[in-house]
């Protein structure tokens, strides 16, 4: 099959030695030696507890680590776990490591493609992708992400997390509301580093033409979720607990926008027959709460967010003229004149902005990557407003504000359809 062509001979040989499996755990890595050992131990513990009778394999897709990450993955033996946990598996747990194509623009896309190709050959019933950067991964996560697929016949399990009210603002202010409004399913974390999926969904997605389009696999996890929704696969959510990274640092906004907004905008064109007929949204089946909000105080520089919004409005007028309608641009320019206390980027204006960006992306009015980059200063303005409006908000009030934004996205969907159909 075609997928084999980018798998090395050695990797294929190792896969053939493993034979068919019941469960496949994908672990994409790149210089994660500090943490990968404990992650693999947790995965093994999860298998011993939840799936002791199943044939399982860990597939490590590595991006050319120079710190010995692959050796650590393959070197961790499940026998190390047994004396401590008093748990036993009846099967051998295989660990295989391979290097994915290092010339790929999106590392996560290349790693995921390698994991999917391995799954295609090993024919597991259930697969899971785990992040090597999760600070608080628990053995139970495996059961939570694999169980609904292995035992209940679901095709995709996305996680939900306990988050601080100001963490993941790109998810709460753009990705979740827009995905929900367009595709009609309330998936909280459509873009996540951990998720479970069935072998049949993996095979179907591997054959899709998402690997060679202009995104080159960036935000592939999101495209995977959207493909599952569009293909009417059975989807559910599992609550995993706190979302925390080992290295707590802010992801740069522009790459984050490429992986989320860029991937979502590029999915809209092939999925138009699906999302154009959807009205409203339905809740997804969820194990545990679909969200939890932490309220501990955070010191955040709001002032800088507003400064960068103002700089964007001032400097990028010629770019925005290509992307936005004159009325939306005029409104943005008028809110830029408000002082810090009075500054608000209203939900309705934000939704119109995002929809006009999506339509301009589809029409390629300028370079698509430039369209995504131009969204960054505007998103900073929206972040400022969200932080201001929810500064003293309770968990319930934050959730209500997010729900209101989602409903705004849903009510303005006809505007997006109108923009979409007015293509030249």
């Amino acid at each position: 099959m075609a997928e084999e062509s980018y798998l090395t001979d050695d990797f294929l040989r190792q896969l053939m030695n493993v034979g068919e499996v019941d469960i496949l755990i994908g672990l994409p890595t790149h210089n994660n030696a500090k943490t990968v050992g404990s992650i693999v131990h947790t995965i093994q513990s999860g298998i011993l507890r939840g799936f002791p009778r199943e044939r399982a394999v860990i597939i490590n897709a590595d991006g050319g680590s120079r710190d010995g990450t692959p050796e650590l993955v393959t070197g961790v033996s499940i026998d190390d776990m047994r004396p401590a946990s008093n748990l036993h598996t009846l099967r051998t747990l295989h660990s295989i490591s391979t290097k994915y194509a290092s010339n790929a623009r999106s590392a996560s896309g290349a790693a995921f493609r390698t994991i999917l190709a391995a799954a295609e050959l090993l024919r597991p019933k259930a697969c899971v992708v785990m992040s090597p950067e999760s600070a608080n991964i628990q053995p139970e996560w495996l059961s939570m992400l694999l169980g609904p697929i292995y035992r209940d016949g679901f095709d995709l399990v996305t996680p939900t997390y306990r988050r601080h009210k100001f963490e993941g603002l790109l998810i709460t202010n753009l990705l979740y509301p827009m995905t929900r409004a367009l595709y009609g399913l309330r998936i909280r974390e459509a873009y996540s580093p951990e998720f479970g999926f069935s072998g049949r969904l993996g095979s179907q997605f591997l054959g899709q033409n998402v690997w060679n389009d202009e995104t080159e696999g960036a935000g592939v996890e999101l495209r995977f979720t959207l493909a599952a929704i569009a293909g009417k696969y059975r989807i559910c959510q599992s609550f995993l607990g706190d979302k925390d990274r080992i290295e707590r640092h802010a992801v740069d906004l522009v790459p984050a926008l490429r992986q989320t907004a860029g991937a979502l905008f590029s999915a809209l064109e092939p999925d138009f027959p699906v999302w154009s007929i959807v009205t409203g949204s339905q809740p997804a089946s969820t194990t545990g709460p679909d969200h939890e909000v932490l309220l501990e105080p955070l010191r955040v520089s709001r002032k800088r967010l507003r400064e960068m919004f103002l700089a964007g409005i001032g400097e990028l007028e010629s770019v925005f003229q290509s992307i936005l309608s004159p009325s939306t641009l005029a409104e943005l320019q008028s809110i830029a004149h408000l002082d810090e206390e009075g500054f608000r980027y209203p939900a309705e204006l934000w939704v119109r902005t995002v929809y006009e960006f999506a339509a301009s992306y589809q029409k390629s009015v300028i370079s698509r990557d430039h369209i995504i980059q131009a969204l960054a200063p505007l998103f900073r303005g929206r972040m400022f407003t969200f932080l201001t409006e929810n500064r003293n908000a309770s968990a319930g009030e934050v959730e209500k504000n997010i729900e209101d934004l989602c409903l705004e996205f849903e009510s303005l969907k006809p505007y997006l359809l109108q923009l979409w159909k007015s293509r030249e």
């Binding site: 993941g168 802010a250 400097e315 430039h370």
Partner: protein, 234 residues
């Protein structure tokens, strides 16, 4: 004497009539070629205009900044300009072909030169168009990167990128056309050198205060942000 004058005159008139009779078919051929050329050039113009509209050439030119240049000069759309240009080049080619049929010695050499110049003209236009496209793309990329990196005066950076690329493209275009190659080379060297020197002086002396403020802002902000939590957008 009188008879001699009449005889010479009648001989001259005779030769003139013979020469005219000899030239008349060539003039007719030239006119036919010009008329045929007009028809062919017109068909080429119509076909080219349809193709350019089909491939959305105006939009591409808009991205390249060529449309804005034409609009400032009160010229029609790039599709119209290019198709009209091709029409005139094609028709002129046929007219010159007709002129060469007349067999006038000096003109034939000029006609040959014109036909040799045509490929260079097209290559120069091609370079100019894609040069403008590249200048527009890279200047916008610099502008966006500057804004998102919170750099001071990103528009200056963007303008500098655009100017450098356009100057570079113009020097290549003139070299391709063979117009004042030496002058252009020297002019480009002087212009580029002056630009770099100007930038160095501007940043080194004129922008001293700006650089100090920028660094202070960076360092002060850096210290301030040590105490602030970073938000992950994902």
């Amino acid at each position: 004497m009188r008879e001699m004058i009449v005889s010479e005159l009648s001989q001259a008139l005779h030769e003139m009539a013979r020469g005219f009779a000899h030239l008349l078919p060539r003039i007719i051929v030239m006119l036919i070629l010009a008329a045929l050329g007009w028809v062919i050039a017109y068909v080429v113009k119509v076909v080219l205009r349809s193709i350019l509209r089909l491939v959305k050439f105006d939009k591409l030119s808009e991205n390249a900044g060529a449309s804005q240049l034409l609009a400032k000069a009160a010229l029609p759309s790039p599709t119209e300009v290019l198709s009209r240009f091709v029409f005139w080049i094609a028709w002129l080619g046929f007219i010159l072909l007709g002129v060469s049929v007349l067999g006038i010695m000096g003109l034939q050499e000029q006609v040959a030169r014109f036909f040799l110049f045509l490929p260079r003209l097209f290559v120069a236009m091609f370079i100019m168009f894609f040069g403008l496209l590249a200048a527009s793309f890279f200047s916008r990329a610099a502008l966006l990167a500057g804004v998102n990196a919170n750099m001071p005066s990103p528009r200056v950076l963007s303008l500098a990128v655009r100017t450098i690329i356009i100057v570079f493209v113009l020097s290549i275009v003139f070299e391709e056309l063979g117009l004042a190659e030496q002058t252009m080379l020297v002019a480009f060297g002087i212009a580029f050198g002056a630009l770099m020197l100007g930038l160095a002086i501007a940043f080194g002396m004129g922008g001293r205060d700006l650089a100090r403020r920028f660094l202070e802002k960076k360092i002060v902000r850096g210290k301030k942000e040590e105490n602030e939590d970073e938000l992950s957008p994902l």
